[in-house]
């Protein structure tokens, strides 16, 4: 039977002669493995490979298992819990903890890793302290995590190294062979660079964090500050007493070396033996590798299917929000400690997950399982493999939602949107000035020199349906001393148009000898009414208080108008001049709105006209006429042409006033404005036509303007 090589990446079997996996194209042999000893053994998976360096195998053969007083897997945690307790950790000789002893050159990288991890831990602590840099939902976890407060970043001193890392260093003499040192140094350098990148950049790829996590988890285990005082009998004994568990594992299945009693191996390291760990959990103890789920893989799949960045997956569960100091008890592991433990115990017959069966075969990490080889790291840097494995904690639904939201926000931030700068539009000032000059010259000339020109009469072919005719007939039917109400509801700016439109109509009213009451819903209306009477109707010598009365300003808009319609005497008791309005002759016979014979509204605003129609008019209200600006005519027509008519007649614009004057055969202001008005309209139409055509052609030639213009809905 042809030997097969199991791919470390995907677990597929490959022929022996293949260099790369047929399934995932990962390299089947390490790039740095230059010697046959370094090759991954093609042995059955339940048989641990012989990966011990040749020179160490002899030593390992004679090594006794560490003298562990307590087989409880959680016993090492007691050391963590009580730093001051010298306890029974006679495992480490004092020489190992000697800080003065220079570190071996080949193992110096571990210190650097520690430095990096220490720095990152310091940075994390700083970030935690400045919690305002994060939203509250993020800081809440760190603040409510007592374990993180107790956690101290590891120092750079060698004695702070965790024991399992110290054991792997120079004290064991695990120096590579001289002929391989260069390659291995390069390998270590490559690995260190990866670690360095991970520490600095917080690479979100979970796989790339695998190694630093492992190192970090080891570094986080605080070693006892008082180093054990053990008198070494001999160097061999010393080595035997401190030899790491992986070395003991080597002894369990050496191809040609005697067996090691695996029962002497601590339970938490028995995974290295490839056997099921002894399940000697007491009632108080908690399996440190139980992360809360029945099926680890399912749990991890659930975690990673959201593709959360690894830095976010370190967020702890909300359930762990409790005081760690109170929660920690012998055998009762807090969740954060569980998180640091390798999760390989209950995963398979060999004690390793199928995709974690790679065991380091050289260097200080030799014999440690679940270490991603450097070349595998390179291969696995493909984006598709980024979420295959990682050590994470469970994340609640709320946290996941927050994480998604944050990712979305960050993603949007990274997407730059090109916002066009506002372009100052060419305003064609020349055209503006040209229009102004043309209007001034033309209209001024017409006013000054056009007095002798005879006005053209309007075409009266369609007069019977016109609003001004209906209004004329309505006013003609009024009798002397009948009270009428006139609303001056226009802006002073529109005086030019509306006074010319209304002068002949008011003149007609006064000629009929009616009493006039004036009101306005505009603050400037009363002054406008006085001005109108005193300038356009001065020939009639109407006296205020006797022939007409100014009721002043009616505040409140439509609401005020409605109130006035309901109770006019209560709403406006006094006239503009302070007299009692309702005792004056114009209003002597008026107690309600229906007592007026006619309501005439002068306005430039179609909405104001609409309000008067809606709020005042009922079935019993008097006739309503209107004098409006030309801009309001299209909307006013609707009230005139409906059946029954809501307004009885109207005059619109200067043209309507001119028509009214022509009808009443009483030339007034509109007649004097005939020539300038017509010339102005011709000029405006000409400018718009010429300018519009020129601009249209320019637009067609040059294209539409960019920037703020031309983007509106059309």
């Amino acid at each position: 039977m042809m030997a097969e090589i199991i791919c470390q990446m995907c677990g597929q079997a490959n022929p022996e002669d293949q260099d790369t996996c047929q399934n995932c194209d990962a390299r089947l042999s390490p790039l740095v493995a230059s010697t046959p000893e370094d090759q991954i053994p093609e042995e059955p998976q339940d048989s641990p490979p012989d990966l011990t360096p040749v020179e160490d195998q002899t030593a390992a053969e004679d090594l006794p298992t560490p003298d562990l007083e307590d087989d409880d897997p959680s016993s090492w945690l007691d050391e963590l819990r009580d730093d001051d307790e010298p306890d029974d950790d006679d495992l480490l000789p004092s020489s190992f903890a000697d800080a003065e002893e220079p570190a071996d050159a080949d193992t110096d990288w571990l210190d650097r890793i520690k430095k990096l991890d220490g720095e990152s831990a310091d940075q994390e602590e700083e970030i935690e302290k400045t919690g305002d840099a994060f939203p509250s939902w993020m800081t809440a976890d760190t603040e409510t995590q007592p374990a993180s407060e107790d956690h101290e970043p590891p120092d750079d001193s060698p004695e702070e190294l965790p024991e399992w890392l110290q054991l792997e260093t120079d004290e064991l003499g695990l120096e590579p062979e001289e002929d391989q040192s260069g390659e291995e140094d390069a390998d270590y350098q490559q690995l260190r660079e990866l670690l360095g990148e991970d520490s600095e950049q917080e690479d979100p790829q979970p796989e790339s964090r695998e190694i630093p996590d492992a190192v970090q988890s080891g570094a986080d285990r605080e070693p006892p500050r008082e180093e054990p005082k053990q008198e070494p009998d001999s160097e061999k004994e010393e080595r035997a007493s401190i030899f790491p568990s992986w070395a003991a594992e080597e002894k369990t299945h050496p191809p040609d070396i005697g067996e090691i009693d695996t029962e002497d191996i601590p339970a938490d390291l028995q995974f290295l033996t490839g056997e099921e760990p002894a399940k000697e959990k007491t009632a108080e103890s908690v399996d440190p590798f139980d992360i809360g789920g029945d099926d680890e893989e399912d749990l991890f799949d659930d975690l990673f299917e959201e593709d959360l960045p690894s830095w976010l997956t370190s967020a702890v569960d909300e359930d762990q929000d409790q005081d760690a100091s109170a929660a920690i008890s012998p055998g009762d592991l807090p969740g954060w400690v569980q998180a640091m433990r390798p999760v390989v115990e209950e995963t398979g017959r060999s004690g390793l997950a199928e995709d974690e069966e790679y065991i380091e075969n050289y260097g200080p990490l030799a014999g440690i399982a679940s270490i991603i080889p450097a070349e595998a790291d390179i291969e696995s840097s493909k984006p598709g493999d980024a979420t295959q494995s990682s050590l994470t904690l469970s994340v609640s639904k709320t946290q996941r939602e927050y994480a998604e939201l944050l990712e979305k926000v960050i993603g949007q931030e990274s997407k730059s949107e090109t916002v066009p700068e506002p372009v100052s539009a060419p305003t064609q000032r020349v055209l503006r000035w040209l229009i102004t000059l043309l209007l001034i010259v033309t209209l001024g000339g017409a006013i000054i020199f056009g007095r002798g020109i005879e006005n053209q009469p309007l075409n009266n072919s369609n007069q019977e349906r016109s609003g001004h005719v209906a209004l004329y007939e309505l006013i003609s039917d009024l009798e002397e001393e009948e009270p009428i109400l006139i609303a001056f509801d226009y802006q002073p700016a529109l005086l030019g148009e509306l006074s010319y439109s209304a002068s002949s109509v008011i003149d007609h009213l006064i000629s009929q000898g009616v009493y006039i009451s004036m009101i306005s819903t505009q603050p400037t209306g009363p002054a406008l009414a006085e001005y109108f009477i005193q300038t356009t109707q001065v020939k009639h010598e109407y006296a205020p208080g006797l022939n007409y009365i100014n009721l002043g300003y009616l505040p409140g808009g439509a609401a005020g108008l409605l109130s006035f319609t309901i109770e006019p005497t209560k709403i406006i008791p006094l006239a503009f001049n302070g007299s009692n309005a309702w005792d004056s002759p114009p209003l002597a016979e008026v107690n309600a709105i229906n007592d007026f014979s006619l309501i005439l509204i002068i306005t430039d605003d179609p909405t104001t006209a609409k309000i008067w129609v809606e709020q005042v008019q009922t079935s019993s209200t008097p006739d309503m006429g209107m004098i409006v600006s030309a801009q309001a005519e299209p909307l006013i027509q609707a009230y005139y042409h409906t059946s029954p008519r809501q307004i009885s007649g109207y005059v619109a614009g200067v043209l309507g006033g001119y028509a009214y004057e022509q009808l009443s055969e009483n030339p007034n202001l509109a007649n004097t404005a005939w020539l300038p008005y017509n010339l102005g309209i011709i000029l405006a139409a000409a400018v718009i036509f010429v300018g519009g055509l020129a601009n249209g052609i320019l637009t067609l030639v040059k294209g539409q303007n960019k920037g703020p213009r031309g983007e509106g809905s059309s």
């Binding site: 539009a425 802006q491 309000i611 309001a632």
Partner: protein, 260 residues
């Protein structure tokens, strides 16, 4: 109660019921289907740009009051102002608002303060400023020009009641090179805005600002209700026209004629 009064109150109650029904039925859904309105899309973009570039938005509320038919425009403008304050809360400079009506200026101040407090802007210096510029239309337009010509203003929003004098504001914005999103319920002014504003809001588009600027589901429900009622009115008008052509008297005739 008159027939017109009865039909009016029925229509209003139906409108309210439809709004609530739309809200309740689509509360859990992602979002309502709303047609695209370029002006609001532009407004959202301008808000983002103001945030990025540290500039301000100018919100003009017009000179209409709240006691007439201008009130709807004023309230729509206040609703848009509220959403803009919310959206631009992280802006270095808060939006400025101006109005030409005393009551609306008070409401604008209140809207600014309550919205700023609701989104936890504690620094009162970061509040938007609501200014009463003047009390007549033309003086308001003249006074608002200084706000539009402020070099730190990157966009203008006109949402309220205006007359033809709004051409001043749109022309000033054009000279400044800043976009102007303009809407009013005053029809002659809509024509002016269409001719001069970069992004005019036509017809009832002014009243849906809350829905398009993230005001919430109830705003979107009200937009859907408006659409439903519009179709109903179209159907009634068509039916009335056909019946009139056929010479058949129909029950809505007196209502449409405005008779009591």
């Amino acid at each position: 109660m008159t027939l017109t009064g009865f039909s009016g109150i029925v229509i209003i109650l139906l409108f309210l019921g439809a709004m609530i029904a739309f809200y309740l039925t689509k509360r859990g859904s992602e979002t309502f289907q709303l047609r695209e309105i370029n002006s609001y899309r532009r407004l959202s973009r301008e808000i983002r740009r103001a945030v990025e570039s540290g500039t301000q938005l100018h919100v003009s509320l017009g000179w209409g009051g709240i006691t007439s038919s201008e009130s709807a425009s004023a309230f729509a403008g206040l609703s848009i102002l509220k959403q803009i304050i919310k959206e631009s809360s992280i802006c270095d400079y808060p939006p400025v608002s101006s109005t030409g009506n005393a009551v609306v200026s008070i409401l604008a101040q209140d809207t600014i303060q309550s919205t700023s407090q609701a989104i936890s802007i504690n620094d009162q210096k970061s509040y938007s400023t609501g200014e009463l510029i003047a009390l007549t239309p033309y003086s308001y337009a003249a006074g608002t020009l200084t706000s539009i010509r402020n070099p730190n203003i990157s966009a203008n929003v006109l949402s309220g009641w205006y007359g033809p004098e709004v051409i001043w504001l749109t022309s000033a914005a054009e000279r400044q090179g800043t976009p102007i999103i303009a809407g009013t319920a005053q029809l002659p002014s809509q024509a002016v805005m269409y001719a001069s504003a970069t992004d005019p809001l036509i017809g009832e588009e002014l009243f849906v600002g809350g829905a398009y600027l993230g005001g919430g589901k109830i705003h979107e429900a009200s937009v859907n209700t408006q659409d439903i009622f519009r179709w109903v009115i179209i159907a009634v008008i068509l039916l009335g026209a056909v019946l009139s052509l056929l010479g058949v008297a129909y029950p809505f005739q007196s209502l449409l004629g405005g008779a009591p």
